[in-house]
Amino acid sequence: MSSGSISTPKPTQTAEDRFAVATQWQLTWWRFRKHKLAVASGIIVIAFYVIVVLADFLAYADPHATDSKRSHIPPQDIHFFDNGVFKPYVYGLTQKRDLRTFKLSYQPSLDRKVYLAFYTEGYSYNFLGLFPSNKHLVGLVDARPEDGIFILGTDLVGRDLWSRIMVATRISLTIGLAGVTVSLFLGILLGGMSAVYGGIVDTVIQRVIEILRSMPTIPLWMGLAAALPNSWSVIQVYFAITIIISFLGWTDLARVVRGKFLALRSEDFVTAAELAGASQYRIIFTHMLPSFLSHIIAATSLALPAMIISETSLSFLGLGLRPPAISWGILLQDAQNIETLALAPWLLTAAVPVILVILAFNFLGDGLRDAADPYG
């Protein structure tokens, strides 16, 4: 027989043991870890949620502050080295409107360098709505009022796009998360009820799901969104939109949950638990739920991008959040006209975080799903 040498990876006794005793969660995690893209996406998602928490700190300009002198400033070059020394600076800008073309242009005043500083003071905000602060990651030192940093440029009314994206991220991502939470709750509750009680309950819930899915989403949203009392504050509208978005989102989850429940019910361990006299409640919560929690997590991470797109579309149609709220949809709505495409195309960069986050959530969800159930 063959006697070729073996060059397999280092055999470790521990590795062996580990696999033998690994819990479902550990297995999932190990499998997930192998999915490089999913891990990278996970990191991106986490980064975005860091932005959610630190939005105001990462923003360097008041996202609401308008100034016609800053209208449509293109993304500005940041110079990192000043005479070979790391000392980031930007040039002061002078606005000019061409009287024949009516176009705005900005010339850097090369003689006037404005230096950047880290962890500086800027506009005031409430960190997490709790602690007043005016600290920001970057800022300018010894700047004149008209100076500013414009990493991604500014919009028509002179608001800094970077800062607005930071703040929009907070709203759009939490709205997605909140929407998924509501969907999840409804989905598990109704999907579970459908599977557990069966019969008429099942029929009714399944019918409702079918009807909801048969409704074109846009008019449904429009109807619901238009019905929001106008006296509601931005916060109230925000929560209402969340609920509207999740109103349709739950049907998918309910189906998944119901399917899983039904599949699990015939599994041996559930039968065993039933035979052992465990209560239905106990069976559901201690036996069945944990066994498909990983699926739910995966489904959730795949539902999130849909929520985010929904919010974006709704706001784009002018039905979702409205200014002065700042969300990705609102930023994109600002960009949805010819003059923006022609005169201020940089405003389209507002789409970048949307695309990035949706990609990240999709890869993450794929990775999680694969990890949770490599055969399903």
Partner: protein, 329 residues
């Protein structure tokens, strides 16, 4: 099997009834009614409407009656095929929707076919050649397709096709055919205009379907019956097409049901941006103008189309999957 079809049909009819109620509720949700919208428009164009007039207008349109009465009146007409009159367009709703419904269906169906036409081969290729360079390329493209909001894409594509090619912007017909009655030339004109919106509309769905197809096929490729088939000495291509592809295609039949309403909804935004004469913009305007019979009918029709889509996909599923066919006996 007949009993199954009958049961599905009854359920479909019940769903439609529920949708009609739902449609009516949805269009009643926004505050105000058509007369409010009408006054707003009139006043914006410089006219005046007195209180007395508003009142008599409400009476004229039957808006002074309770909602359930309005619903019953509407339904009693709908059941005999009369969808009422559009308040804004002053024409029978069916006539206002007219070609737009067909164009919507044509657009959605072309998007659907395009979705399948692109997604199936790519999905199959990606699964069969998993982890190949092209697989990575297709997967990345499909993910990006999934992530870019299609309205944004529509706007950008429209603008750049204008800037770069000076292309006529939006629409489904060239101006010379806008007015013309249907003819071969007009259909051809439509065919020439369809690809761009269909591609934009199909993009997200395609991305999703590629992923579904790839995942399904990967699952199927691992199954023992593939080995059985290979062991018989079948050529590889035939093995894949006859067995796993057939099995992986199965879920596609059920995608008709969810993809269609999704495409129709998607077409609303795209049609608005690209100025396509589909029901989308009409619905949006009708909702804003509170033109309730028009809006209600469109929502109802879209819902019914979905129900029919679901019903068809059930039938297709039954036809393609002998397990369902024989277990329904």
């Amino acid at each position: 099997m007949l009993a199954y079809i009958a049961r599905r049909a009854v359920l479909a009819i019940l769903t439609m009834a529920a949708i009609s109620v739902f449609a009516f509720i949805i269009i009643q949700l926004p505050p105000g009614d058509f007369v409010d919208a009408y006054i707003a428009n009139l006043s914006a164009s410089g006219s005046s409407v007195s209180m007395e007039e508003a009142k008599s207008l409400r009476a004229l349109y039957g808006l002074d009656q309770p909602i359930y009465v309005q619903y019953m009146k509407w339904m009693s007409r709908v059941l005999v095929g009369d969808f009422g009159e559009s308040m804004e367009w002053h024409r029978p709703v069916a006539e206002v929707i007219g070609d737009r419904l067909w164009l919507t269906i044509v657009l959605s169906l072309s998007a659907l076919l395009l979705t399948w036409g692109i997604a199936l081969p790519i999905g199959i290729y990606s699964a069969v050649r998993q982890y190949s360079a092209l697989d990575y390329l297709f997967t990345s493209i499909s993910f990006i397709g999934l992530a870019v909001p299609n309205f944004l894409l529509a706007l950008v594509i429209m603008y750049f096709s204008f800037v770069l090619f000076g292309a006529n912007v939006g629409g489904l017909f060239s101006s010379e055919f806008d007015l013309a009655p249907w003819s071969v030339a007009k259909v051809w004109d439509l065919v020439k205009h369809l690809p761009l919106p269909a591609v934009i509309l199909a993009l997200a769905g395609t991305a999703q379907l590629i992923r579904i197809m790839r995942a399904n096929l990967l699952d199927e490729l691992r199954k023992p019956y593939v080995v059985t088939a290979r062991a018989k000495g079948m050529p590889e291509a035939r093995v894949i097409w006859k067995y796993p592809v057939r099995a992986a295609l199965n879920p596609f039949a059920s995608t008709i049901a969810y993809l269609f309403p999704y495409l129709v909804s998607g077409s609303i935004i795209i049609s608005l941006v690209l100025s396509l004469p589909t029901v989308g913009p009409l619905l949006l305007k009708a909702l804003i103008a509170q033109d309730m019979f028009l809006a209600g009918t469109i929502v109802l029709l879209l819902g019914v189309m979905t129900v029919i889509g679901t019903f068809i996909s059930d039938l297709v599923l039954m036809w393609v999957d002998p397990r369902i066919r024989f277990q329904m006996d």
